[in-house]
Every structure is written in structure tokens, then in C-alpha cells.
């Protein structure tokens, strides 16, 4: 199977980047991701559940995240939370995206300083 290059996923949408960043720290279940995104953006970004699962579905299909084996049983019998974790490819994509953004920021600063840098 051909492994796609991390660059082929760039640029990432903000939602996607936030989800990946949350998962890069530790495994989370759905509601955990929502809470983390909300908390770390200080309430500025509020993901809807439907949108979150569309993002999760795509990330799963692309192999950037995977389901964790951890299946803690909740207070209710039928509640078997799925946990998601980032894959090495996902980590590479996040790294590439952060690198891309920082290059962009550097270039923006140079432009403001009156230079003429390479942009991308």
C-alpha cells in the first residue's frame, strides 16, 4: 500500500488541525475532544457534534487517526466509549502543517520589515 505524503493533506482546516492537536497530546473520546478544543480555545471554537464526527470519519478514512483499543465501560452498560488516537502519519501531517504555518508567519514578518522573502 502506498503511504501518502504528509504534505498531500495540507493545508488543514482549522477544525481538523485542532482535533489533531488535541489527539496529539493524548487519546480522547468524542466528548473529550469537544471539551479540549473548547477549553484550549478559551471557548472561542465550539465544534458541533455532527461536524466533529464528519471530521473524525475523514481522518479515520485517511489514516491520520485510529480507534484506540481502550474501551472503558461507562456508568451505563451500553456505553462503550470509543477512544481515538493519532497515528504516526497524523503526527507527521501536524508537524508539516505547523512548519508550513511558521514559514508563512516568518515570511509575513519579513514583508512587514520591508524584505522580499520567499512566501511558501
Amino acid at each position: 500500500m502506498v503511504v501518502p505524503s504528509p504534505e498531500s493533506f495540507l493545508p488543514l482546516k482549522t477544525d481538523v488541525l485542532l482535533v489533531l492537536l488535541v489527539l496529539a497530546r493524548r487519546e480522547r473520546h468524542g466528548y473529550g475532544i469537544l471539551r479540549d478544543v473548547e477549553r484550549r480555545s478559551e471557548g472561542e471554537v465550539r465544534l458541533h457534534t455532527g461536524a466533529l464526527y464528519r471530521t473524525l470519519r475523514r481522518l479515520l478514512a485517511d489514516g491520520l487517526i485510529q480507534e484506540s483499543d481502550r474501551r472503558p465501560v461507562g456508568p451505563d452498560d451500553e456505553e462503550r466509549r470509543r477512544f481515538y488516537r493519532i497515528t504516526p502519519l497524523g503526527t507527521a501531517v501536524v508537524t508539516a502543517e505547523v512548519e508550513r504555518m511558521s514559514r508563512l508567519v516568518r515570511a509575513a514578518k519579513l514583508i512587514r520589515a520591508g524584505k522580499d522573502p520567499r512566501l511558501v
Binding site: 473520546h29 468524542g30 466528548y31 469537544l34 458541533h48 457534534t49 455532527g50 461536524a51 466533529l52 464526527y53 464528519r54 473524525l56 470519519r57 479515520l60 478514512a61 456508568p75 451505563d76 456505553e79 466509549r81 470509543r82
Partner: protein
Amino acid sequence: MTRGGWLRRVLRAMLWLYPAEFRHGLGADAVDTHVDRYRDGRRGRGGVAFIAIVDLLSSAPLEWAAAVRGMWPARLRFVLRALTHRPGVPAVIVVTLALGIGANTAIFSLIDAVLLRPVPVADPASLVAIYRITDAAAGPIVPADSGVPFPVYRDLQPRIRALAGLAAWHDADVALAVGGRGSIAQVATVSGNYFQVLGVPPVLGRAIEPRDDETPLASPVVVLSDGLWAREFNRDSGVLGQTLQLGPTAFTIVGVAPAGFRGTHLTRTPEAWVPMTMMQGLDLGGMFSGRFSGNLFTTFRGLGWLHLVGRLQPGVAPAAAEADLSRVLAEIEPRTGSAPPRQMAVAPLSAGAAMAERRNLVAFIGLLGGLVALILLLACVSAAHLLLVRGGERVRELGICAALGAGRGRLMATLLLESACLAAAACVASIVVGLGVVRLLATFTLPGAIDIGALDLSLDWRVLAFAIGVASGTVLVFGLIPAIRASRVDPVRAFRDGSRGATTRGARGGLIAAQIAISLVILIGAGLFVRSLRAGLTTDLGFDPEPIASATVELRLHGYDTTRARTFYLDVVDALSRQPGIAAAALTTTVPPAPTLASPLTAADAPGQAEPVRATRSFISPGYFRTLGVPIVAGRTFTAEDRPGSPRVAIVNEAAARALSPDGQAVGRRFLELTEREYTIVGVARDTAVETLTDLGTPHVYYAILQEVVSGKVHVLARAAEPTRAAGAIREAGAAAGPEVAVVDARPLTDQIGGLLMPQRFGSVLLGFFGALAAAIAAIGIYATVAAAVADRRAEIGIRIALGAARRDVYCLVAGRSSLAALAGVGLGLAVAGFAAHLVERFLFGTQPVDPAAFAGATAPLLALAGLASWLAARRALRIPPIHAIRAE
């Protein structure tokens, strides 16, 4: 019970709105996340629950879109592979449907263009056509030269209360000259209120107005059509006040009609409109010419030539207008003494356009419509049949898919996609076919000399959409049947014996019968038209057109007066007669059979005879009868002595002689034409066809063209062994006699007669083509059915052959049912054709509707073809090696 259980249940239930993949996968987790947020309780619970429900609802379509997007490339690849793996049947389905849809669209576009498109005038719905009924049984008849006499129109116009306005018109071919160049144009002479009644304002200047038709010859004004304005005047708005030469009169241009306005015609567009009181100024000859004392056409009540169109008063129905008309007719009849039309009919203009002289056209168009509807039906039946056959073959395949866990929905989706692919391919192909048929149609002429090529004919997208809808529906429904059956098949049985079930066998038989019946009906129709065409080409015209060539000149366009014209005519005939290879040459104003002006003749020496004889007429030169090979049965033909100034002479045909002389001695008798001029009959000629191929025995009178020199259209005839070369000789002789004279339409006479048989030719070509196609499609269907039966019963056949079954028994086993169905189809087809043949009777020349040759000629080849198809397929059964078949079990 934990909090939020109710919400979980609601949300879980809502997951049924999602694709199965999501429902079984992430769906439950998403619900849990919603519930987590609810339990968290940091915001109002009611709000969270509401948002959860809305969020789940609004996400469903997006998940579906993603699911379809993710799935369909693979499905499509699978379907395309299935279709192209064995492309024969799908290809036949696509071609069949494309032909059915394409032909339908093209023909219905034609019907729309000729019959249905509304006349481009204000509020066409309240316009009515008013017809004279000459024979109550025959319904309204408006032959080319009979409508309402001018005085009757003038009597009616002010008296009818049911109409807001009553206008009249008459079309004439007129010599038109612009800038020294001459041509022939169709000009409408109209009543002063014509434009007002139709509600059409001119785009430039003014229309013809009531003041223009008060006094004969007083108002030489003309309104140009948009076409003439564009062609000759480059749409110059300074055209008003310029003159336009029509016949011998210079008309002042006062206005231009809007583009697209064609009067009350549906197909022809007059080039210009002039007041009808200017009739005499157009030099049309006959009663309109100045040679009669006074203004005969404004006072003569014996000849109707005006067509009427009326605008209903608001709220008045055509029937009420008709009653009002009857009242007025009864009122004016005693007053005038002479007989106006006794009864007149009022019909909506749109319906009226479909009546009268257009009856043949309507019947013919109806025939075409019926034909293409049959073809669409056939296409759908064939497609359904082939899909069933193909589906039968695939029950095993689909059963295996089902056994491997493919759900009914997935099977259906796949088959639906397959049908959609077929339908899509058929749609694309049908547009190509439709455009092709439109192009083919443009080479034909409709009854009433409507040149299809001149119509604004484009594919009608509404019809295309309809036909595509019908065809796609058929494909989708019949394409799904195998999926439904496959989902019922027990997968184990599907593996074991590939059961193809007998459920569709009955349907297949019925579909075969229907296909054979439709093919047979079309083929019989083709046979009838071919026979009529042959009969028409060999019909007795009273002369043999084969060795005759004809060409046309119109000297007045070139400024010839009668003296110069006479010299020209004499020179041409003389030059032609001296040419080697030309047996005889002559002139005539009419080449039979062609529409001809008729006038009433009254016997001058039999005062008791009140009823005038209505006879068509032509002006001919002395060599006419020798050229056509028509014998003179009494008296003499014209001679050089019949010149201007000598006593007026005429030759009549046998029918006119009988009508004018009860004692049988026509020669020497005198008669009055139009109550004005007296002629002496010097000869009687054998009858010939006059206006149509079948009117042998209609009264006709010949006048001497060299005695009363006419300057209108004159045809030069030459008799020769090679008429094509003779046509060239006429052109040369014309050029030699007058270099500036245009000699047009030089061609063998058989070409012209061939043109009269256009409906038959058209019918033969179309019906023949589609009949052959239909038969081929039916044969393919039979082949496919028998082949499926063979494949179905491989094992059984193998065992039977091993046990020594006769070939005949094996054949009956696989092809018996199809053969019976085909025979039933033939029976049905013969019955339907026997009925339908009467519908086309009017187009049949010298051929009975139930013509044994046509019926047998269509049935025999079709049966042979059906037999061949089933034999070819069944032969494969006989080749099955017994051991192979048994091993397959």
C-alpha cells in the same frame, strides 16, 4: 436509570436516517457524545437536547452525500464492467431506445412546428376561421380558389354582431421587382381591417387601413414583411415612401410588419401585404384582370376567393358566432337574389388551420405521429423484453451476491445504476438520432407543398424530455425486476441449479408477441405505401409523362409586352421543333397535374341551361396535344391561323364537352366564360389528369395562347427520347430567343409528378426504414429468448439428447414457446393492420387498404426472420454434448 436515557433512545432512533455504514460505525459514538454533553449540564439541558436533535438531523444528508461519493466510483466501475463484459444486449437496448426517442422527438417537433405553434398575433385564442360549407356531409371545404365572394364579404362584415371584426385575405403569386431584378413572391391581398382584427401593429410606418380598401385601384400601398425588408432593403428605416413594383403597378411602401408575422398562415409567410381593392393592379389575370368590364371581382357573386378570419366578441363562443352567421346569411340571401353560401362554419383559428385544405396534411402528420408513437412503444417493449431476458441470466449471479451478504438494497442500487447507465447512453444517442431524423425530414415536402426544410424546425426539448422519461422509466422498472426476484431466490438454490424461475416466461412471451405485432403493422404500412407509390407512378394521366421535359418562363418580369411575348413563344417552339431528337414542342400555362384556376362556363346557344359548368383552364400552343400525345377525338387542334383578332376559339376535353353539349356535338358550339367572352369550340381532346393524379374526367378548357397572349408563367414542353437532354435544349432555345429571359425549373416531367407522390414516397421510406428496424429488433428479442431458454435447460437438453430425443423435440422444447408467441403476434398484427390500413386510405393510390400483396409481403419475411432467429439460437442446444451437460450438474 441514568439521566439522558430518553435522549439516547431518541437519538439512536434517529440514526436510521443515516447510511448503514455510519449507523453501525461512528453513529452510536456520536449519540454518546451528544448525551455526554447533555449530562455535563453546564448549559441548559433543554437547549442541549434541542441542539443535539437538530444537529443529528442536519448532518444526515451530509453523511449520505459522503457515503454516495465514497461508494459510487467502485459501483460504477462494477456496473460498467458488467455492461461491457457482454455488450451485445446492452448495446441493442441503447440503440433501440435511442431510435425510439430520437424519431419521436423529431416527428413531434415537426407536428409542433406545423400544427400546434400558435399564430403570432394578439390573443390568437379569440380568432376564428370562417369556412364555407358547400356540402354539409363533407364538412368545411376550402379548395384553393373557392372561399367567399367579395360582395358576400362586404355584406357580412357590418352585420355580424358576434364578431368584433371580420377580415378577409387572398394569397397570390405576384411578380415582384426591386432594383431591376425580378422574382416571384407570395403577396397577400387583405381587407383594410386585416391588421386591426389580428391586432398586429407594424414595426415601422403604418399597416393597411380601412381607408385603403374603399375604392378599387385608389390606394397602391404595401406593407413589407420583415424578410423582404431585410433582404431587399437591408432593414433601412428610410424605406417608407419608396416604391415596390408588384406586377405592373408601383406600390408605395407605407409600413413593415413585425418579424415572425405570417398572417393567419402557419407555414408560409407572405412577402408583402396590399389592400385587396388593388387586386387588379397585380395583373393576376382571369376575373381580376382589367379585361372585364367594370370591377367584376367586386361585384361577381359566382366565385368565392376570399378567406375569412374573425375576432370573437369577448365571451362569445364559436358556436354562437356560427348561429349569428346563419342569421345574417338568411337575411342577405333574399336581398341579393344570387346564391351566397348557404351555410358557413366557424372554428377556432388553431383548429381551422387543421381543417379544410390542410386536411391531408393533418392526416399525414397524424399518421407520422402514430408511427413514431408505435416506434417508441416498440422500443420500450423491446428494452423491457431484453432486460427481462438479461435479468433471467443474471438471477444466479445476483443470487450468489445475495448469498455472499449483499443486501437487497445494495443489489437494487447496483441494478438501478446499471439501468441509469443504459438510460443515459440512450439519451445521448437519441439526441444524435433526433438531429439526424430532423435533417432527413428536411429533404421531404409535406402535403400542401410545405417544404419541411423551410420550416423553423429544431428539436423540441419538452418532447425529448418526455420521450426520455418514458424510456428511462421502462428501463428502470424492468431493470429492477431481476433484483427483486434475486432477493427472493434462496441463495442455495441459486448455487445449485441457477434457477431462472418461470415467473417472467409468460411476460416474455407477451412481449415477443407485442414486438412481432408492432413490426408487422409498420411493415404492412410500408408495403401499402410502396404499392401506392408504384401505382401512382404508373397511374393513367391520360398521357405518358416519360418522354416529356418542361421549363418555365415569365416574360412580364422582363418587361415583355404581348407582341414581344408572342414573338418569343413562336421563336422558342420553332427552334425546339427543328432540333434533332425532339419530336414535338409546345407551350402551356399549366402542366398537368397541377393546381389550376377554374372559371364558370355558360353555353351561349342553350339559354335554358342555367347552371354554368365549372372548368379548369389552360392556354396552349398548337403543338400541345402532339407533344403530350393526347388524341383529338373531334374537330381540330389550334393552328397558326388562331391569332389575335381572329374569332375566339377553344378546345374542350371530353368531360367538358359532355357537360356543355347534351346532344354530344360539342364542336361548333359557343360558350361564355365568366358571362363575358364568347368562344367557339373547335375541337374535343381526350381527358387528361388536371389538378391531381386521380382527377381524370374533370371538365377542362384550352384556349389558344397565341391568340390571347398571356404574359404570366408559361411552361415550354418538349417531347424527346431523352427528356433530360430535352430540358437542356429548352433552356438553350429560351436563351437564344431572349437572352435576358430566365428559364427556370427545366426538368423531366416525371420529376414533377414524382413530387406529387411525396406523401407516398415519404411514407414508404419512413415506414420501410422503421419497419425493417422493428423486425430486426423483434428478431434479436426472439434470438435472445431462445438462447436464454437453451442456457436455462442445458442439463435437461443434454439428458434428453443422451436418451435419444429427436432434434425436433429439442427444438420444440427451447423454441416452442417463442414460436407460439411469434404466431400470436402475427395474428394480432394482422388484425391491427387491417383496422389501421383504413386510416391511411386517403394516401393510397390504386391500392386497397387491405391489399393482399402488402399484407402477405410483410408477413412472410417477418415470419421467416423470426423462424431464422429462433433456429439460430436453438441450433446451439443441439450441439450440447450430452456428457458435458450432465457433468455441469
